[in-house]
Amino acid sequence: MKLTGAQILCESLLKEGVDVIFGFPGGAVLPLYDTLPQYPALRHILVRHEQGAAHAADGYARVTGKVGVCLATSGPGASNLVTGIANAHLDSVPIVAITGQVARPFIGKDAFQEVDITGITLPITKHNYLVLEVESLPRVIKEAFYLARTGRPGPVLIDIPRDVFLEQTEFHYPQKVEIPGYKPTLQGHPAQIKKAADVINNARKPVIISGRGVLISGAFAELKQLAEMAQIPVITTLLGISSFPESHILSYGMMGMHGMAYANMAVDACDLLIAIGMRFDDRATSKVSGFAPNARIVHIDIDPAEIGKNVRVDVPIVGDVKRVLVALNKLIPPAEHIDWIHQVDEWRRQHPLVVPRTSKKVLPQYVVHKLYELTKGEAIIVTGVGQNQMWAAQHYWYDKPNSFISSGGLGTMGYGLPAAMGAKVGCPDRIVWCIDGDGSFQMTLHELATIHQDQIAVKIAVINNGFLGMVRQWQQLFYGKRYVATPLTCPDFVKLADAYCVPALRVEKKEEVAPAIQQAMKHDGPFLIDFVVEPEENVYPFVAPGTALSQIIEEPRKEVTAWSQQSTP
């Protein structure tokens, strides 16, 4: 039986196990939308802006480990996806973006709503396709999903001309993919693994840095085994958060620009750095020439191009993190590094993550901490970008894999709400909190309409400081306190949520924080809390850009509140 291109697409998506598409219609994809009702197993969620569709697919993919799917029409629909695709690219998130294109005879004619989206997304996709005959559609879809989720995952875009959706052909879904130029190295080289084991077994002051690759590879247990067996402190990158239980005795939190002081000190002082599934981003390493000056570096990553890209590496291992760790762990006998652990513990005692003062005003760190307590650390936290993101990373402790979802590489304001939406759709049984900045939230808040229409029970905590806070912090510290274009006059978020039929509360006093969170969680459905917080609160510790990780600027006012002290893991 012959099927149309649109039907073939839907059949193929089902074959790939797709259950939800985040999309937005338009002329070029109308034939596809008209076909969707024939496939009720494909749930379509109508976003309010295509950027939201890409972020939602991204959030869905991060929490489920499956490929997220977004859909947009040609021209502006496709170009609106760009930020979301770039975001997924930098954070290695498997999404497949499907775009409509003008009909084949119009391609290259500057037709209505024509953009060269394969050209535009060339540097921000793992691969992309323009499908010029319907016969190749099943193969392309098969390849796209395969490329997106295997190796180093990433976004793949499929551009489909309108008339290809309408053309008919026999449908055969390929069993296998044949891509001669794509064979990711999964198994680490045994000789390299042996070398790594030797340096690990001889190290006196080893540190593990765990990145998002550990989460992607599902190597949570293997990482834990390595750390425990050889007694090695584990530090994560921002995106590595939740790859190692933060309540674990060997967990020393996040490193980098706003990392824990003791984590950065440990990286600075270690004699061996075992970097796993991370890519030495400049926000993590700070000044490269001053990075881990005394350390030999073992780097495990699936992408050979990451080896030696930013820092010199002594023992590179290319392979899937989980497989490499399984092999490596066999060569690691139990070891102790008591003196070293004591040293790092001592740094933690001397330089705890502090919250400066008790304040009448609501402190943003306190909000995050209360969220931690009241969700018992079991929520999936999705963040905006800026200070809110850093506080969410610092003051919530993540024990479950993939429970911290954040835009790391691109730092995309507006990521929070749509990504939280995707995360909740992917994990309907988990509590999903979006911790957002008042600036970030306003970039994509129209998705309130989506979470209302589809009753996606995302809880939103807007950290409302009336500023583009992170930029204001830099202006305060590096630009003589000249707050140019950072003060925000915000709308009344409670009224706004109300207009979108999302129940909301405003919190202005410390004692209201916990009850409001409880009320939000009791409510069966989406809920928003506008936390009006101390406007000029800064994020500490802070390693200024261009300085070495060891040059840590700490909170100047060291009046430690009880909760922050006692809760230091």
Binding site: T118, P123, K183, T185, Q192, A305, K309, P316, V318
Partner: protein
């Protein structure tokens, strides 16, 4: 001295945009291409590309690995250190008068190159060889006045029985293929 010019050979799928994917990568990552030459290979559906890249070894390694990540690229090898044949073709239009013509022809003979067109006031010379040979010829011809130069960029192949860029990738980090 460490050579800064590296010769990379890639076997790529003959797909629309494959050249664009590779070249855009050079631009985006700030790699310097000295030359690039593309043509069909012995395998149907595949082309072979020769890049000459200028830069320190670490950068060239990055080029090789980043090229390897392009899905349509099957294989990339840095063959600089191997025993290779490198050739480039150049066409040179040089000013010629009755007084200089015979001298030019002598030079052309010495370089075992050919005159492919003769006009009233110019000669067009076709020369094939390694880059150095072409540069030396151009140096000599410059005194007569060069009107136009067209060069193909280098193509390269390893000597002996082994194929170029369809065997193993020469990597330093234990990776088999990207």
């Amino acid at each position: 001295m460490v050579p800064t010019k590296h010769t990379l050979v890639a076997l790529v799928e003959d797909k629309p945009g494959v050249l664009n994917r590779m070249v855009s990568l050079f631009r985006r990552r700030g790699f310097n291409i000295a030359s690039i030459a593309v043509g069909s290979s012995e395998l149907s559906g595949f082309s072979r590309v020769t890049f000459v890249v200028d830069g320190p070894l670490a950068m060239v390694e990055q080029v090789r690995k980043q090229l390897g990540k392009v899905v349509d690229v099957v294989k990339v090898s840095d063959i600089t250190e191997e025993n290779i044949v490198i050739r480039e073709l150049a066409l040179v239009k040089v000013k010629a008068t009755s007084a200089t013509r015979s001298e030019i022809i002598q030079i052309v003979d010495v370089f075992r190159s050919d005159i492919v067109d003769v006009a009233q006031d110019s000669l067009t010379i076709e020369v094939t060889g390694a880059e150095q040979k072409i540069e030396s010829l151009l140096d000599l011809l410059r005194t007569f006045g060069i009107k136009e130069i067209v060069r193909t960029g280098c193509i390269a192949m390893t000597r002996g029985g082994a194929g170029t860029a369809n065997g193993s990738t020469k990597g330093r980090d234990n990776e088999q293929t990207p």
